[in-house]
């Protein structure tokens, strides 16, 4: 099987674009990624398009209607917050399978503001606020509080994650916000679902990201100087756990995918130089330090207290600003974090550059549950 390389990758600056269409937003990133690869849409053999909000509306084909209708096969994918990573992975798999040498993956989302989630739809009466809460800030607060129960993790430790990611985003011009948020400001922001304040919740934004993936043969033909090798592409759904009927289990699913990813790459967590992980809420990031093996179980609080996950630390996490400050356009997120890691591996990340980065990891998780993990490696 051929190795797979990212030859072009880019994202638009995340923001709010209520006057644009979903395909139009996606088309912009697609063209940017093609330019980055030095290729045109006519060179692509297939398109894998991730979008959640219009999952039944042929977004991939509508993107091609804006940038070039070659007749190539198009697959539209939806997999909650793992949608972008799933599109990327389908593209990766098509090259692994030997079907194609050059394919395009696009992730795009237009969000609107406000709370996501909600308990118990269906017949009868609304269940929100009656049988607990299905809002995302609450669901992830409950998951974080499990960590508090087990290890005594504090509200302040969760809040520090948000301080860190907002700080990182001040160095990322493509992030939604570039604003420092000191600890007292994070902790005193409006409480949404304890222990997540408003500044500990990801930002709903519109955005898109895209990548051109190629086979080894094609990469050699095009030149390897800025190519990034995909060392692992792993995906898992939630294995059975005792509480997962009422408490979506983001831990077991991530651990399963991480194990697979490390095995594929033949490396361990100690070999990873930077990680973009799914900080949909500050409480979630804490869990994934352990789920991804960046530290031992019970040590996540120390990772943030001792600065190991900051830029300049042992394993910087979410130097892009993460979903907390860069923003979280659901379908785009899984490719935007691949863009971030590739940019560091190429040594092109400017002020937020993780010096000497050779191997990076991306992680997303969509409730329901889908986890996608990629390990990327600098070639030259």
């Amino acid at each position: 099987m051929s190795d797979v390389y990212v030859m072009g990758v880019d994202m638009i600056k995340f923001g709010r674009f209520p006057d644009r269409s979903v395909p139009n937003i996606g088309a912009e990133a697609a063209l940017m990624a093609l330019d980055d690869a030095g290729l045109g849409i006519q060179d692509m053999q297939a398109l894998y398009c991730g979008n959640l909000g219009q999952a039944n509306a042929m977004v991939g084909q509508r993107i091609l209607q804006e940038i070039g209708q070659t007749g190539m096969p198009v697959v539209n994918v939806a997999n909650a917050c793992a949608t972008g990573a799933t599109a990327f992975r389908e593209a990766w798999m098509s090259i692994k399978a030997g079907m194609y040498d050059v394919v395009l993956a696009v992730g795009v989302e237009q969000m609107g503001k406000g709370l996501l989630g909600g308990a118990g739809g269906g017949d009868g009466i609304p269940k929100e606020g009656l049988l607990g809460s299905g809002t995302m800030p609450c669901v992830f607060a409950e998951a974080g509080m499990e960590h508090t129960k087990e290890y005594g993790t504090t509200f302040e430790q969760f809040a520090k994650i948000s301080v860190k990611n907002h700080h990182h985003s001040t160095m990322n011009p493509k992030a939604m916000y570039q604003i420092e948020t000191p600890l007292d400001e994070v902790m005193n922001a409006e409480m949404i679902s304890y222990p997540n304040t408003k500044l500990m919740c990801s930002v709903n934004v519109d955005g898109s990201a895209a990548a051109v993936l190629v086979s080894e043969k094609k990469a050699k033909e095009l030149g390897m100087s800025r190519a990034v090798k995909v060392r692992a592409s792993a995906m898992a759904s939630d294995p059975y756990t005792d509480r997962d009927l009422v408490m979506p289990d983001v831990n077991a699913c991530t651990r399963l995918a991480a194990k697979d990813a490390y095995e594929q790459a033949g490396i361990g967590p100690e070999d990873v130089n930077l990680v973009e992980l799914h900080d949909c809420f500050a409480t979630a990031e804490m869990l994934h330090y352990e789920n991804l093996g960046l530290c031992k179980d019970g040590e996540a609080g120390r990772m943030i207290d001792e600065g190991h996950v900051e830029l300049g630390g042992k394993v910087p996490v979410n130097v892009s600003g993460g979903l907390l400050s860069k923003g979280h356009p659901l379908g785009a997120t899984g490719i935007a974090n691949i863009y971030e890691v590739c940019t560091h591996l190429r040594g092109e990340a400017g002020k937020r550059q993780v010096e000497g980065a050779k191997i990076g990891m991306t992680h997303v998780i969509g409730l329901g549950t889908a986890c996608g993990i990629h390990i990327l490696e600098k070639v030259n």
């Binding site: 009868g124 009466i125 269940k127 049988l131 607990g132 809460s133 509480r243």
Partner: protein, 138 residues
């Protein structure tokens, strides 16, 4: 309609003709996994047609929770969204009531019991009332 019996808020809440309401679970006879609501295949051990219908316990312990301060419009806040492990198996989510929504007052693993009551005055489009379950400190 106002004189009619309330409807159950979820399918696994049973309201018998006579006697007290209760929560119904399905338990796999092969591996013991407990599910809320009806199913025929066990998603843990994959056994088919090995489910037995059980009455779930009305006591348990608080596994995790969050205190909700912002919900959808029209929902009263704050409230405690709680995850409870029932004695004898099964995990269930609901509102924890009759305790301050204050992390200093709420203890993990605290014993709780299930109570039943009107679904906060909520009615469906036909005007039917509903019976819901709640947790309170035991």
């Amino acid at each position: 309609m106002s004189e009619s019996k309330p409807l159950p808020v979820v399918d696994f809440l049973k309201i018998p003709e006579s006697g007290d309401p209760y929560l119904e679970g399905y338990r796999c006879k092969k591996c013991g996994s407990t599910y809320l609501g009806e199913r025929t295949v066990c998603s843990k051990c994959f056994a088919r047609n090995e489910m037995e219908v059980i009455k779930l316990s009305e006591t348990g312990i608080l596994h995790s929770y969050a205190i909700v301060f912002r919900s959808f419009p029209g929902i009263d806040v704050p409230y405690i969204s709680a995850i409870v492990d029932l004695d004898g198996g099964g995990t269930i989510k609901g509102n924890l009531i009759n305790i301050d929504p204050d992390p200093d007052k709420i203890n993990f693993n605290m014993p709780v019991k299930i109570t039943y009551g009107d679904a906060l005055g909520r009615k469906d489009k036909d005007g039917n009332s509903y019976l819901s379950y709640f947790f309170e400190p035991a």
